[in-house]
Symmetry: D2
Subunit: 373 residues, 4 copies
Amino acid sequence: MEQIGIGVIGTGFMGKAHARAYNAVFSAYPDLALQPKLVGVADINGEAAKRTAVQFGFERHTSDWKSLIVDPEIKIISITTPNVMHREMAVAAAQAGKHIHCEKPLAPTAIDAKAMLDAANSAGVMTQVGYNYIKNPLLKLAKQMIADGELGEITSFRGVHAEDYMADPKILFDWRVDGSGGEGGAIQEIGSHIIGIARFLLGNIVEISADLETVLKTRPDADGTPRKVMVDDVARMIVRFDGGFSGSIEANWLATGRKMQLGFEVSGTKGSLAFTQEHLNELLYYRAGDPAREAGFSRIETGPQHPPYANFCPTAGHQLGFNDLKTIEMAEFLTAIAGGARNGPEFLEAYAIQNVIDAALRSSKERSWVTVK
Amino acid sequence: MEQIGIGVIGTGFMGKAHARAYNAVFSAYPDLALQPKLVGVADINGEAAKRTAVQFGFERHTSDWKSLIVDPEIKIISITTPNVMHREMAVAAAQAGKHIHCEKPLAPTAIDAKAMLDAANSAGVMTQVGYNYIKNPLLKLAKQMIADGELGEITSFRGVHAEDYMADPKILFDWRVDGSGGEGGAIQEIGSHIIGIARFLLGNIVEISADLETVLKTRPDADGTPRKVMVDDVARMIVRFDGGFSGSIEANWLATGRKMQLGFEVSGTKGSLAFTQEHLNELLYYRAGDPAREAGFSRIETGPQHPPYANFCPTAGHQLGFNDLKTIEMAEFLTAIAGGARNGPEFLEAYAIQNVIDAALRSSKERSWVTVK
Amino acid sequence: MEQIGIGVIGTGFMGKAHARAYNAVFSAYPDLALQPKLVGVADINGEAAKRTAVQFGFERHTSDWKSLIVDPEIKIISITTPNVMHREMAVAAAQAGKHIHCEKPLAPTAIDAKAMLDAANSAGVMTQVGYNYIKNPLLKLAKQMIADGELGEITSFRGVHAEDYMADPKILFDWRVDGSGGEGGAIQEIGSHIIGIARFLLGNIVEISADLETVLKTRPDADGTPRKVMVDDVARMIVRFDGGFSGSIEANWLATGRKMQLGFEVSGTKGSLAFTQEHLNELLYYRAGDPAREAGFSRIETGPQHPPYANFCPTAGHQLGFNDLKTIEMAEFLTAIAGGARNGPEFLEAYAIQNVIDAALRSSKERSWVTVK
Amino acid sequence: MEQIGIGVIGTGFMGKAHARAYNAVFSAYPDLALQPKLVGVADINGEAAKRTAVQFGFERHTSDWKSLIVDPEIKIISITTPNVMHREMAVAAAQAGKHIHCEKPLAPTAIDAKAMLDAANSAGVMTQVGYNYIKNPLLKLAKQMIADGELGEITSFRGVHAEDYMADPKILFDWRVDGSGGEGGAIQEIGSHIIGIARFLLGNIVEISADLETVLKTRPDADGTPRKVMVDDVARMIVRFDGGFSGSIEANWLATGRKMQLGFEVSGTKGSLAFTQEHLNELLYYRAGDPAREAGFSRIETGPQHPPYANFCPTAGHQLGFNDLKTIEMAEFLTAIAGGARNGPEFLEAYAIQNVIDAALRSSKERSWVTVK
């Protein structure tokens, strides 16, 4: 067992989630070759950095993220700042030889993502991007069942990620809707999750026809003046996979009442799977060919038979939560750094997701089908 | 109370469903001004016509549908034959001055539908088309709640009708997949339902971008020879309503495990509604602004407070079934004929639905957005 | 095909439900040897009788139920009046040689039920009692699966029938709560259903420990005076079946929010079944021994593979409703009268149910286990 | 911030769960006055102790639990060994002045529990018992809603804890079924949870009628010889609360297919709540008096409005898992030790739960109602 130094940039929801997961990872994965050590945390708000250091046990804190980059004790940089800052930070970290865990979406545009990918490749560092939902043991199961042919030939995919955190027209204009980095809105922030899941389960998306809609045309700024929203509230996509089948994907941050309607249904000639993150410990499975009188969708509940559930609990029925998914993510990143399996998603995969988003933006603007780069 | 003579053409699932509903309608709606009388039933298979006549109490049966058209005792013709035969029958019935109930979809193409509509208009007869699912008391409630502004401004619609009755690649090639009338496949047969529901709830669809996919390229004919499938198995649409909002619609008859995944979610700034025909006696409703600690989707169960549920049962908790929806449909048709409310959907509405389907076929072929006529 | 004359006593919810079902039965069961003919309907309120006659097509109506009994054209008497009147009517009908369909619960007490049973047996007439919920194709499936050993050895039963129609303390004192016939409250009115289901699935209940509670001690009469409630609002029972296993049963008419929480879970060494009438077209089934990674409760949806669903609809996904269950009930009664299968429940079974209720009343009073007669 | 030394006895599921929670607690509750420090872990299997020490970062490990008791650096002892060993360990810990967290159920019998309670009281140490499910933010909400009168007068409680981990007759005879400590089986192991929840929500249970059944009379020992099972597989209870209302409780470890059917329904004159641990992030709530057309059970999803959810995640829709509940438990114990709120459940409460269990054992044996001590 060896320790590896961690530096976390950002102390918001995700900054804390990373720190929490790094703290939890070793006891969940006692066979990990590398044990994370929280060395430094940075936040432009120095007080926040300090508080977070105390909260999670970082040895140092700073208001200057660059000091983490140059810290020789730090080998892994976690980037959890807003999207537009990812590129600069990641490139600097890569150039300093740090392994990089960057929150999703990787960057505002595919161009930025490519620059980050190139920097990481040049430096030969390991990367990971925070698409935590695919770390769910049941999504691993879904992927395996599809790979094992249990669904037969895939005939259709339907994916959605809908929430309501922007549904209230009174929510103020802010960085999420100003589009200053050239990025999308809902498609970028939550659509990237369901696009990532689609790719995780079914492979490359090669063609896309998209409609990105700004439903709430303006939002008030702090003094009540309406400001023009520059990004999509709802993105609807029809997609073709290179496996030869098609699907639809929706991202929607105006879905009143929905807190985490992140789900999908995959159909094949021999079976189907359905999932929603609203019940993240359940996967629905229909097996064609079961005796007719008893056939139906089975509600599979997560248990120790679904790795890595048993790392958290030895018996069935004890559900995993969001933070556990984040712990799995960190464990897999550390495993990859230590030379083990590379489960990613690495920058390469996040770049591919960003290419789908860019294609959707282009398709919507041109009102036509486009090929994904 | 006056009797009105009924003639039913076709004795399959829908022919029987019509007869059953005509028989049930008066006791459910004792205040109806017109009581249906089953005069004649026609089927090209004369034995089937005879059996059906006995089963439902028709006075006469015939293998020649035209004899119903000329029967002076018959005032209403129910057309339940395959789609490609609707036009000839409906035009003949209209010209003979009969009111017409025609099963959905109205016709293979909008051209056919228009001819039927024109014939009915010229003759001044009443029409109805068998979009039974919108007869559900809870869909009436949904429409009313939207009209009452309970959802605020509508921001999104997501609709799907997915079943699996064509999912098995071994299902034989037949009229449903030969496209001989110029019609679609899944979009026509089940997509018309969800398009109809979208219009019922939210009004006109004015623009559409569609992808209609033939997933199973061939199906075997009776001797095992592969025949090329000419229609869509899965149709995915992005649609714009003239209310200024958008949505997506999917029709899919390969959805393994799904027997009646006909559902929707409508979101608005003040609330949302979600429904699936799999639980036809439930409507989910989220009201924005409820006290935070108690907010959530409510599961509204049908009861006597939701007309016309009480026509079937005076107390809550006793669920309606499919055949009851068909009874409502017939009651409303008879009401319209008697000069009461015209709830339709009449040929005009079914023509509008067909125009959406035609636009989708065109859009998919041209791979571009098209305007719905 | 032969017609058989029907007389219905009572024109409330159940009187109408019987008439509706008699009207529907022949087209659902065209092979029935006997076709019901609605001859007469009686209600002490002559106007109600008249309206009902018109609504359902009875040939005659009367305010004197005895005139139906003596009507030679009537061969079947349906008794749908309040519980306390069943005995007199049924005995008279039996003595007149009529077959008898009596609504549940059969009688206030087992003594009354026995008298009715004896009268029917002496007269050699066929009987049926309106426990409609067991007519559900999925309950027939459940019974069959248990009989086929798919659950292995039964280890436990949990049943409940909870509704909220008496939950409001302001509901007026009436015959349901005066206990004048010696009967129970919730246990009698709805508990009889779940007791009937328990027996239908699993056989005789031989021992019982019950607690019958009057939660709302008084209810106001019409002028607001509190009157003492004489019956149970909630009945809780622990029961032993003669198969050697045990279970629990609850009847509760104060269950705020519940409109039809009539359900059960049966566990066995090889499998389990769970059901609720809230989703009457679904049965949940867990098969022990399925591959671990895919095991889970399957949601079986009713379809034509579950007789007699296909009598109502030839294709899956089209749900049955309450009135359809009533139609099945009538069809099976007519079948029995015609010399076919006797599916019951006959008076003998209803008497057995009443014996369980009587035992529960006794157990609760004595606060001890009692043997069911 | 001050550190407090922890010693954990036992390294099974719960030993690890405690260690994991102690490690997680401070970052979730950064305002805690006391920060746990993992000082020592004991297991009779010294290797297991060593491995666990490494896994969770304990400073010391031992095969002799008594060495933790005498360790001056340790102020809190966590007892996670089998039930029969709790008393000796807890009494020793109390006498040594340690605060004690003991896993549930507290002890085999109320006599043992009382001895532990007395020892803790004499020593003036703080105690906590591992009834983690009540730490769920939604159960705290449920308790608060009941206390606030949102359900009106309570009319009924129905509780169940059913799992299937003993359902297979081939499971070997072991300490869980030998009854050597005088304890129950399912009632003790899982029934204690639902009894605890009933008390948490609704207060004291004062009278009980129980039926404890050994369904599988024998289980094989390692060489296949059948050994007589001495404890209950299924426990069914009818209970009276001192609030004047009643309920039922079931504990069942033979419930094939159920992994965590731990749930309840509480009804009152103004509302109802329903919950199952199978969906631990949801609480169903029915509010009587809502507008009739829109009334229904609302599915409340946990969010930051439900303390202490926000300690784990700042935004809605990110579900908590089992381990998070355990973290809340530890945080509240540390809070109590630091002089803050005493949320318990302390030994006093666990003793009360044990008294209910003892009463159930007595009632079942005597086949009569008994008063809970």
